[in-house]
Amino acid sequence: MPPPGHALSGETPLRVLVADDIAASREEIGVLVRQFGHSVLLATGGRDALDVAAREEPDVVLLDLLMPDLDGFEVARELRRRVTDRWLPVVVTSSLQGDEHFIEALSCGADDCLARPVTPALLEAKLRHYQRVLGLQSRAAALAQRQQAIIDHIGDAIVTVDAAGRITEFNRAAAALFNAGPDDALTGALLVERLGIDPRRLPETTEAVVRDGAGNELTMTVSAATWQLNRQPYTTLALHDLTQERQLQRMKDEFLGAVSHELRTPLTSIRGAVGLLDSGVVGALPAAAKELVEVAGRNSERLSRLIDDVLDITKLEAGVTLHLQTAQLADLVAEAVAAIDGYAKGAGVRVEVSSLAAGEVQVDIDRFLQIMANLLSNAVKHSSSGQVVTISSRGSPEGWMVAVSDQGPGIDPRFRSRLFEKFAQADSSDRRALGGTGLGLYISRALVERMGGRILVESEPGKGSTFTVLLPARGPRAQWLLCVARDRQRLDQLGMAGAPRPGRDGDRPAGRRGPGGAARPGAGDRCRSAGPGPGRRVLPRAPVHRPYRGARG
């Protein structure tokens, strides 16, 4: 987009009013002005000059000083009085000797003077000078106009106050916020009286309760910028109304809560009834019936996980709030391993911890454990009985690395690009067999990215896979590296002693056993179920029990 006013800068010809009562000298100057590429308006005397100026709005006036009806001094004075919305350069011309009359003309409001007979080159230079100044001026005016238009059309209220907190400028949204009537003198009013906020007491950006002109209290984000004009400090405030956003957020939360409740309530009955049937509490089932009950149990578990995951994703995509806490990395890894232990044992897979780095990290603990549970359970799920999954971590100046490796079959290269997509699984029969939701890696990546990091994956079919995650470490500035490696080569590259384990694609484990023997956290889990759930928090005095989510992702 060209800058506003561009057309007026540079070469735009001027419209020059030439006022002279003597036809010959009027023509002489007119010819010169045309030669220099400008257009000419002619006036035959002082009064005519004022008429033409009013009618034609010239850019520059060349004014003879001695005219019978109204002399140049009077015309200059009158033009200065009449033309107030713009700058109209007035150049007086005269053949009189001495400077006194020029000085007099300038004091009457003329801008410049030119002796007769006119030197053509001097006239050309002067006109070029006015052409440039006027070009710059209209460009500045257009910019200011554009900015005013933008500021006026912004939905947020913008107000400028002086050092005393008095309003000096405001946009339309601010006027609406003030609820000002047409005769209401806002300029000069104290902002604290109008909105109940004192700009001098506000930090740069804050949330404040603003009282609008109608007396409503609105929660707003207030951003303040302080600047100076003629050594006087001013503060410009931008006020963004959060009321509607808050309301939408609340409605969304309520809806999610209702969906969660309405889906889980019938599922609780189904899951419970099937589980009790399978447990044999009402009598032993025939083998075929047991098989069918197990199908129902397995799938109600899967549905339960899908509900959890879909709700989780909805929250993630809406922008989840992370609760960053400082924690020992080793403790987190130990907890993640403890959480997966039952599931791994059930699958005949051993989980080993090697080269655990000591150090503090700043993470959302629940979310971190959720990521680890996803990656670890994937590793276990894609391992065969007797194989080993290894987790290790390492610190570096930039951050920390954690690696998980397994001895699974690795990831099909054709599947690699879709690995982190929603409902991405290598094949549907795999999904049925392993009971995942196809959402685990998608959620993991979303969480990692939300924490300012990323996940990378490397894999070779038959040899293993590597998941690498980069996350902010201590505070948002530092970064730390979490690496879930699935093969020894990668671990070696990363300089980590780790056992070799190939891998596979990703999801979390089918919930442990069938309906009758669903996994539950051990006693150690009761204060914080290690398997991350959307709402899992550290609540030492108030345990949260989630039998079905206990050790999964």
């Binding site: 969660s260 447990s279 709402g535 345990p543």
Partner: protein, 156 residues
């Protein structure tokens, strides 16, 4: 409150546990009377099967907070499982009223909730519950799971 009181009011909930594959009674270790408050009839049935038939507890199943308030004095529960979202009196409201009963002093109360939002959990636990069990729960392990809360919250 004598033992006959609760057996009278909750006799329909007692089931024969003999010969059932349930929790070994040695593990139950003292916890006997469990009250469940749940508005969903099917879930009530699951709770009753799980805790009475499988777990061998004396169970008093109530369909509303009001019913729980009426029956708690006679039943004298040692642990209460309380649904959070119920029409009429909600779980937290019920808990507040239950706590006013002399018989409920120091009795652990565990919320049952199908809501898993973090803020929900925190709100729920503000109300002085010993813990939360998230639905869907496992009816097979529930008899054992509640012992954790009983031991944890007993006498507090």
């Amino acid at each position: 409150m004598d033992a006959r009181g609760w057996s009278r009011c909750c006799s329909h909930s007692r089931m024969n546990v003999s010969g059932q594959p349930g929790v070994e009674l040695s593990e139950v270790d003292g916890l006997k009377r469990v009250m469940c408050v749940e508005d969903d009839a099917d879930i009530r049935l699951v709770l009753e099967f799980s805790l009475a038939r499988l777990g061998g507890y004396e169970v008093c199943v109530c369909a509303s907070g009001l019913e729980a308030l009426e029956r708690a004095p006679a039943f004298a529960p040692e642990l209460v499982l309380l649904d959070v979202m119920m029409p009429g009196m909600t779980g937290p409201q019920t808990l507040e009223r239950l706590r006013e009963l002399p018989v409920m002093q120091g009795v652990p109360v565990v919320f049952l909730t199908a809501k898993a939002m973090q803020r929900d959990m925190e709100d729920i636990l503000q109300h002085g519950a010993t813990g939360v069990i998230v639905k869907p729960f496992d009816p097979v392990t529930l008899p054992k799971d509640i012992l954790v809360y009983w031991e944890h919250g007993r006498g507090r």
